[in-house]
């Protein structure tokens, strides 16, 4: 009995220690990471603060890294506003925005007509509009031992992703890369298992540039034949890194962070085009604006043959109401969107693997943002 009591006391002490430790830990926490490792040298950018309180937003994970940096810079200047952007995916972002849970949504694709209708209920006097804020090349990453430089064109890529070309030493690939030492290795094509704007983008490109070899409709969900799947850009990029013979598509920043080689595209221009930020910006400049009025929805020219324009380029939007935004969050939303579209905001993107908007488009977006109400 004595022994028992002793252990009991000891255990209670341990329990109490654990609980109080946890409480103490949560009591003395700090949000201030500016002094810690990895803190940025956030320049006091030219930011006009407005509004107070918390701003909820969610959506595309493709613009997550850009958003992170914008939020960091913005909250460095505007201490009264706290912006919380969750990369839940474009679909979920649009859904929660239409339900009125968020101030704005990030999305890889423009609102569909049905969604615009729904947004009229939410915005009352206005409707949901698409504001392009950031673009980025969708890189084709591959892992073929001994091959550092690889050129492919739309037809070959479409065939690879549709399981019509299954070996790396296929004549079609050889023809495009006469000097490369292509091994007799099975191609492991990875696609996204979740629905994604990058998938839609890639398949739009196939459909436009290689209609004969890609019969599937462009969609957020993968429609091609065969291949393997992984979830999220991080999932597919880490698979490419692990698996010899793998090829997949993901935002350029993932190719850089996991150090995967990327394919140069033979678009029909004189030189094969590399997936990089400048080339993506050139492709965005080629794009057509299809949105009317305040809407800035864009249609990319996937079959562009322009010199140095990288055709598989993703434009992601912020979606908000043109009129009838929620009163509490309007000032902060407006000020944050203004910063994003500003020169400083766009300039912050380049080193993250994103393509800034061409000046003209950014100009127009800024104009529209300033009229939000």
């Amino acid at each position: 009995m004595k022994l028992q009591r002793k252990t009991r006391v000891r255990a209670l002490a341990v329990g109490a220690l654990a609980v109080s430790g946890a409480l103490a830990l949560s009591a003395c926490g700090s949000d201030d990471t500016t002094g810690g490792p990895g803190a940025s040298s956030a320049k006091a950018a030219n930011i006009k603060c407005d509004g107070k309180g918390k701003l909820l937003a969610s959506g595309s994970s493709a613009q997550k890294n850009a958003m992170d940096v914008w939020v960091q810079n913005y909250s460095g200047a505007c201490k009264d506003t706290e912006i919380n952007y969750q990369p839940t995916g474009s679909g979920a972002g649009v859904t929660t925005f239409l339900q009125g849970q968020t101030a704005f949504a990030g999305s890889d694709s423009a609102l569909e007509p049905g969604e615009v209708e729904k947004s009229k209920q939410l915005c009352k006097t206005g409707q949901g509009i698409n504001l392009p804020m950031v673009g980025g090349p969708v890189a084709i990453g591959y892992n073929v031992p001994g091959v550092e430089d690889l050129v492919l064109d739309a037809e070959t890529l479409a065939k690879i992703f549709d399981s019509k070309i299954t070996k790396w030493n296929d004549p079609a690939i050889k023809k495009l890369n006469p000097s490369a030492k292509l091994p007799d290795l099975k191609i492991q094509a990875f696609h996204r298992s979740d629905e994604s704007g990058t998938t839609k983008n890639l398949t739009e490109y196939f459909k436009a540039a290689a209609p004969k070899d890609w019969k599937h409709e462009p969609d957020k969900a993968w429609a091609g034949k065969g291949g393997q799947a992984a979830s999220g850009s991080s999932g597919v990029s880490s698979q490419v890194k692990q698996t010899a013979g793998a090829i997949s598509y993901f935002e350029l920043s993932y190719a850089e962070s996991s150090q995967v080689n990327t394919v140069k595209l033979d678009t029909g221009a004189k030189e094969p085009v590399e997936a990089n930020v400048d080339n993506a910006s050139k492709a965005i400049a080629e794009a057509k604006r299809v949105g009317k009025g305040n809407d800035h929805a864009m249609e990319l020219a996937y079959d562009t043959k322009a010199e140095g324009a990288y055709p598989i380029t993703l434009v992601t939007y912020e979606i908000a109401c043109d009129k009838g935004n929620k009163k509490e969050t309007l000032p902060a939303t407006k000020s944050f969107l203004t910063y994003m579209a500003s020169e400083d905001g766009q300039a912050a993107l380049k080193e993250l693997g994103y393509a800034p908007l061409p000046t003209e488009i950014a100009e127009q977006v800024r104009k529209t943002v300033s009229t939000l109400s």
């Binding site: 979920a92 492991q188 065969g226 393997q228 799947a229």
Partner: protein, 331 residues
């Protein structure tokens, strides 16, 4: 338990006024307490009924909008102009991966349980049991993390080996992709449910009457014969119910499967090649991009999972109840 009748004669120390005591429980304390506990039972029932109604409502919406057969379609496309989706692949993947998990986990778990209860040195047994119980509580996201970053890269060698000896069966053929198949899921699920199955089986083995074992020993039986003749027969229903518990967990596992599997809506013969899917994994990976109707479709598939889990739980409960009667516990 025929204790509902309160004794007629209150002892002198009874706090309540004697005159108020009659045959039935009318003391205010009793009434309040009964009311409270019945109330929470009813509250639970109401919550549950509300969830069930909610689920059924949205599932019905989904199945009505489905242009293909919900049970036999090998496709998941609720967002198209002609929404088509079916659970055939999901049901197949869920059942197959769970069966693989059971085939691996149950014998091993019984082995560990026997090891702890009958083989391990005394000093080792108690801490081991402890550790196994602890592992039962490790969150599944961590199993997923470990599975994706550690288990998968280590399995492809094993699969190539299996392929070279058993590839001719078709089931074990492997075409050198990443080892992100239903078989991998089965292995990971097996590892996840091992602790649960082990700890329940161990409890049962410890309950075997010592007399039975000693009788067998006295007859000159070896340790294995003791186990075969007295421990396993006694524990059989316990093992079954433990396995059912594990199966229930394997069926509903989400995050671990979603991180490890390479899903597709094609069913191949080979278990080692990537492909397939499970209910919970499909819900998790499709949910974020789904529109409202897509969510309905996913909820409908969730309902099917729900029914399967219910059946498994029910079966386990029946078996456990039978064992109670048989062993006379709580007599």
């Amino acid at each position: 338990m025929d204790t509902s009748a309160i004794p007629q004669n209150p002892p002198p120390t009874a706090p309540a006024a004697p005159s108020e005591v009659s045959g039935k429980a009318v003391r205010p304390g009793d009434r309040i307490f009964l009311g409270l506990s019945r109330g929470s039972g009813i509250a639970l029932l109401v919550i549950m009924a509300a969830i069930a109604a909610f689920l059924t409502y949205r599932s019905v919406l989904a199945i009505q909008g489905d242009k293909a057969n919900f049970f036999t379609t090998f496709e998941w496309d609720p967002s198209g102009a002609e929404p088509k989706f079916g659970i055939a692949v999901l049901a197949f993947g869920t059942v197959v991966s769970s069966i693989i998990a059971m085939i691996i986990a149950v014998p091993v778990a019984v082995g560990i349980a026997l090891f702890i209860s009958h083989y391990a040195p005394r000093k080792l047994a108690a801490p081991l049991g402890y550790v196994i119980d602890l592992l039962a509580a490790v969150p599944s996201i961590i199993y997923g993390l470990w599975g994706a970053l550690f288990l998968v890269p280590h399995l492809s060698g094993l699969y190539a080996w299996l392929d070279s000896y058993l590839g001719w069966t078709g089931i074990f053929s492997y075409s050198q992709g990443a080892a992100r198949s239903l078989f991998t899921v089965g292995i990971l699920l097996a590892i996840m449910i091992l602790p649960i199955v082990t700890s329940v089986s161990r409890e049962v083995f410890l309950q075997v009457p010592k007399m039975h074992e000693e009788a067998a020993l006295a007859l000159g039986a070896t340790r294995w014969e003791v186990i075969r003749m007295s421990v396993l027969p006694f524990g059989r229903s316990g093992i079954i119910s433990a396995s059912m518990l594990g199966l229930g967990r394997a069926l509903g596992e989400t995050m671990a499967v979603a991180t490890v599997l390479s899903p597709s809506f094609l069913i191949g013969l080979s278990l080692l090649d990537p492909g397939g899917g499970t209910f919970a994994q499909n819900i998790a990976s499709k949910f974020s991009e789904a529109d409202t109707f897509g969510q309905d479709a996913l909820i409908a598939s969730g309902l099917v999972l729900f029914v399967i889990t219910l059946l498994v739980n029910g079966a386990a409960r029946l078996i456990i109840a039978r064992r109670k009667e048989y062993s006379g516990a709580n007599a």
